[in-house]
């Protein structure tokens, strides 16, 4: 079997439902999508771009038809389209009001309107005074020019250097974005207050962390649905009910995701309960970078 990565054109044909569903190529792409996260991500990129072109009306008639008859079949894709449409409107509205000099009714900046309505000079004396003023200013400018050129040269060097540093910083940020996971994991194995010098489990959140994947080991293997509440300083910050426990002979496990926003710096705890039964506390410490 060929191991080369399919081109974007092929990916596009796949997403638009134009490849033979029984073909070896489609089989290979299916396998690669499940096993290769990078490939799966590149399919997501093309998928979003099809939606973008559809919204902009830049798709060919054939592609547009395929989008309408195949691509948008699934409710998940329809939701994507809905979000992309709203995002596009939102961002267009945000960039439609750039800051800058306010414009007059005829579109000219107000400063020109001001000069246009300035009263005409009526006497030569006024003109002469103006010429004198301009000449004086010119001589001052001439005197300062040498000094300014030196300052400007240094300033330019400094600006260039700052620009270079800014570009490097953005590149570093870009690399960090590609390596730092968006989801942190928190494993809580024991309920209750810790004794002696035992430390609470630590949860470290990076600046790019969006979600925390929490795994709580329950001491008893009682199947059923549990409720979990996140608390800090006695205040409930987040809760979710109906979490199904995974049970086995070794115990039971609760798996769920929590957004990072409600988590407080310092001590937090998950309170786990089932029906009207007793509650178990799972404390942990959170540090945000």
């Amino acid at each position: 079997m060929e191991n080369s990565v399919p081109t974007e054109t092929v990916i596009r044909e796949y997403l638009l439902g134009r490849l033979d569903v029984d073909s070896e190529l489609v089989e290979r792409m299916d396998e690669q999508m499940l096993s290769d996260a990078e490939f799966s991500e590149s399919i997501g990129v093309v998928e979003d771009e099809i939606i973008e072109e559809y919204l902009e009306g830049t798709l060919s008639p054939a592609d547009k038809l395929s989008v309408q008859k195949h691509f948008l079949r699934s409710p998940e894709r329809q939701r994507k389209l809905q979000i992309a449409r709203s995002l596009s409107r939102h961002l267009a509205a945000a960039s439609a009001h750039p800051t800058g000099m306010p414009a007059a009714a005829d579109g000219q900046p107000q400063i020109f309107v001001f000069f246009r309505s300035w009263p005409a000079f009526r006497t030569y004396a006024e003109i002469g005074a103006l010429v004198l003023l301009v000449v004086s200013l010119f001589s001052v400018v001439q005197l300062r020019r040498e000094l300014q050129s030196e300052v400007r040269e240094s300033g330019q060097k400094l600006a260039d250097e700052r620009e270079r540093v800014a570009v490097l910083n953005r590149q570093i940020e870009g690399v960090r974005e590609l390596t730092e996971p968006a989801t942190a994991t928190l494993n809580l194995l024991q309920p209750g207050v810790t004794r002696g010098n035992a430390k609470l489990p630590q949860l470290r959140l990076g600046s790019l962390t969006q979600n925390v994947h929490v795994e709580i080991a329950l001491s008893s293997a009682v199947p059923g649905r549990y409720s979990v509440t996140l608390e800090s300083a006695g205040k409930a910050l987040w809760s979710q009910s109906g979490i199904e426990a995974f049970t086995s002979s070794a115990g039971a496990l609760l798996l769920f995701d929590v957004p990072v926003q409600p988590l407080m710096q310092g001590e937090n705890r998950f309170v786990v309960s089932r029906g009207s039964g007793s509650e178990l506390d799972y404390p942990f410490n959170t540090s945000k970078q």
Binding site: G17, T58, H70, L87, Q171, L208, L255
Partner: protein
Amino acid sequence: MLGVMSTEPLPQKTRSLTQEAFASFLFWLSPYPEPAARQYLDMRLKLVSLLVRKGCAHAEELADRTLDRVAMIVHNEPGKYLNPMALCCGVARRVWLEYLREEAPVIQEVNEIPAPHTIPDFSEQEEACLTFCLDQLSTRDRDLITQYHQFQGSQKIEKRKQLADIYGGLNKLRIMAYRIRTRLHRCVDGCVQRYAN
């Protein structure tokens, strides 16, 4: 090409999966419950994504059907299969083809597909969530996604070239923008769900 299908829920198929078979399937994934459960959820998520990308209107149902069938296979012939993802992929393809051939034609009608322009706009709540989620982005990400989607046509191409120079190439830029959109998508869905609860 096979036709289009309705997004109405599929008729419920009788599930033949027993608790015992499911337990042995989880054990096959990993002898430790925690990683086994994690692998199971991860596989389900990937299968749903695969089926959506294949254009399936019932991706969740077919993903569950696939996993049930894989669990039965593993339960009946333990030790025969070594690669969970490869087995899942093979079974998912079979389930998808069966679905296209046997079920989809029965329920498909062209006029049942919602026209894209009839997909409703965001509600006020969803708009509020989108604003909230955009505010949650770092300044750098918000600037990037705003500039990335700022223009159309040749202006858009030019702008993206400029951004690509800054962010280390066009492909990297596209992936970064995709990741930000994915985060926004999840954030909006989570926010809407929280309000609904």
